[in-house]
């Protein structure tokens, strides 16, 4: 594939396509925050305000997953400022990553359905699936990154120090979510707490301009 395309353009369409998938996966998350309908309020003798307050698990799950996918997108973008060429395997590795990203609404909806309201065992399953899925995404990200940096011809010239810096940072993502997963075996709340802390920490660092 490398021979035909212009050097500088090669990952453009891969990035645009990935942007589309990230953007849609993030936007679909809101579909699981369901507006309380009048009939349901009447049936359950609740006020609208009560029902809205009762949406907190859905809102928390929405916020967490949006932030997780956003952080991924920022990192995906960052990776492709140093990766300038794509071989065939990178297309499929990226596709695998995108599949995992489009899957995010499922563990999100599961967490939103069972966090706080399910039995301990149900909540635990939801928390383990959520943190486990995030861990797998992190590992796939690391795989894609390792694939790219081991093939010097895929990288833009003069990016060695940037690559080293990024490699050092990317080590922590999967490990952090693995901790959240392990916590989930004993306490689903602790697992959600770790996931939440991670996105809040990433978000604040981001807003403060630290990479």
């Amino acid at each position: 594939m490398t021979k035909v395309a212009d050097a500088g353009k090669e990952t453009d369409r891969l990035e645009a396509f990935s942007d589309g998938v990230f953007a849609i996966a993030m936007t679909l998350l809101i579909l699981d925050v369901r507006v309380p309908l009048r009939e349901d309020l009447a049936a359950s003798h609740r006020t609208l305000l009560d029902a809205l307050v009762g949406l907190w698990p859905a809102l928390l799950a929405y916020f967490m997953s949006f932030a997780v996918v956003l952080v991924m997108w920022v990192n995906h973008h960052r990776i492709f400022t140093v990766v300038r060429r794509a071989d065939h395997a990178l297309f499929y590795l990226n596709g695998l990553l995108l599949m995992l990203v489009t899957f995010v609404p499922f563990p999100t909806a599961l967490l939103s359905a069972y966090m706080g309201t399910g039995t301990f065992s149900e909540f635990r399953i939801a928390a383990l699936l959520y943190a486990g899925h995030a861990t797998i995404i992190g590992l796939t990200f690391a795989w894609l990154w390792q694939h790219a940096i081991r093939r010097k011809h895929l990288l833009a010239p003069g990016t060695e120090s940037e690559v080293r810096k990024m490699s050092a940072q990317y080590r922590w993502g999967p490990a952090a979510y693995l901790v959240a997963f392990l916590f989930g075996i004993f306490s689903p709340w602790a697992s959600v707490g770790v996931c939440l802390m991670l996105v809040v920490a990433f978000g604040f660092r981001g807003l403060l301009g630290r990479e």
Copy 2:
């Protein structure tokens, strides 16, 4: 991140990604305008025409929210004609803005469900949430704008007068929605009226070619 990418390209992917989110958020709004089904007509002894006329709150909410997001997109586009570089914080500020944009379908659906048909208190909650969310979006927009214009190296050269003009205009958006929010405490109809006037005014000004 600045070192690696080409100068002129730096915000391209951020813009494309944002475009995707804006486009999807706008397009998903139609999913809440539900076609009256034959079974429902039979059960409620209404004609199709009655049922379609009864969709006006959903249609009004759809129209308002589409217009709100469109105005935001036009302004987002305009901001990134003067902002040519993005630092790490801008990526996250933009992400925060996009999260608020993807959230728009929720207050829209709430307004559509309780405008006219809910109790006063239910309608008030819906109107306050709608105008309050629009106010928060406006403030986040202002934050992003202030962040960018205070960092001269993020701006395209020779854009000082354009920046001043835009800064003068962007002052009014959050203020106008705050007024709509305050009106909503006493009269949800007045709140919806102000929101509607705002988008109609923006739309007409836009169609007349005035910035």
Copy 3:
């Protein structure tokens, strides 16, 4: 807005954003072709094959609307090969057009729900709304086109003959859908037939390579 952006790039983001909206509107159409569930088959004593055959109105509406939006996208693309600059009004005219495009799933779902199965009066309402909406889109398209070609500075140089050719063609779109609308007053089947003929004719001309 014109001063800041590079000449050749000015409509790029407007096109990309519009592409997103067109693409999503087309893709959402499939959500209204609902898979017959096992419970429904049991309740209605129908086989899966019967139920699939019974989906023909949904499939026909899906096909028609997909083709309508595709033809629009091809023309939108074509317009922006001659329109190279966008003034403020063009952004809003394009926004109005996109709003009408995102609305397409609604008349499509209505037609799919009442074509063949509703009463004559219900089917007529659905057919009139469908053809009426297509007419309004055609008129908005014509408005956008007239706006652009009356402002020479928005056009790429040396496109006069292309503009004339396109103007001659674009005259027929709204008129044809208006005929479909008028037919609908007396016969909804005739109205659907005209709409179907239009997209089939456009599609075949397109596949044969005639503009």
Copy 4:
């Protein structure tokens, strides 16, 4: 259309638009993997774990269809590294291909609803529709490819050997899915098995970097 646009840019918007459709079609697939709700668990006396395990047909269908569309996107991308110009017919052929791609969620949902749980005859219908649709997509792909390579002026110069290589490969796709379709007449499981083997084989080849 060729006269106005710049040579290198001509298929850019067609590709971007197609990317959007591919991305959305892939992302919507997750909407059919429904989270088991607490009410349903109570009604069917199942644990959450049982219900999640029972989702395997939906998950398998999701995985297969995501992979099918991903492989198509990679090939679409690859085709447009050698095809550099688009005539009118190519726009419509590409549109036809995109229509078939946006339709993918329907056979996917059908397969997910009847695989394993339906009667033999229902499962067979679902499997035939799934493999049949994939065959038709493959044939449309071949049509588009043949159209492009028979018009030398649409191709980038110096791509003859690449075109020959790709032509040899593209012969097998529709044939393989036709085999899956024929198997489906006698055994729906065999049909699903062939489809699954195809995407797994493509995926592994891809990840191993073989084209």
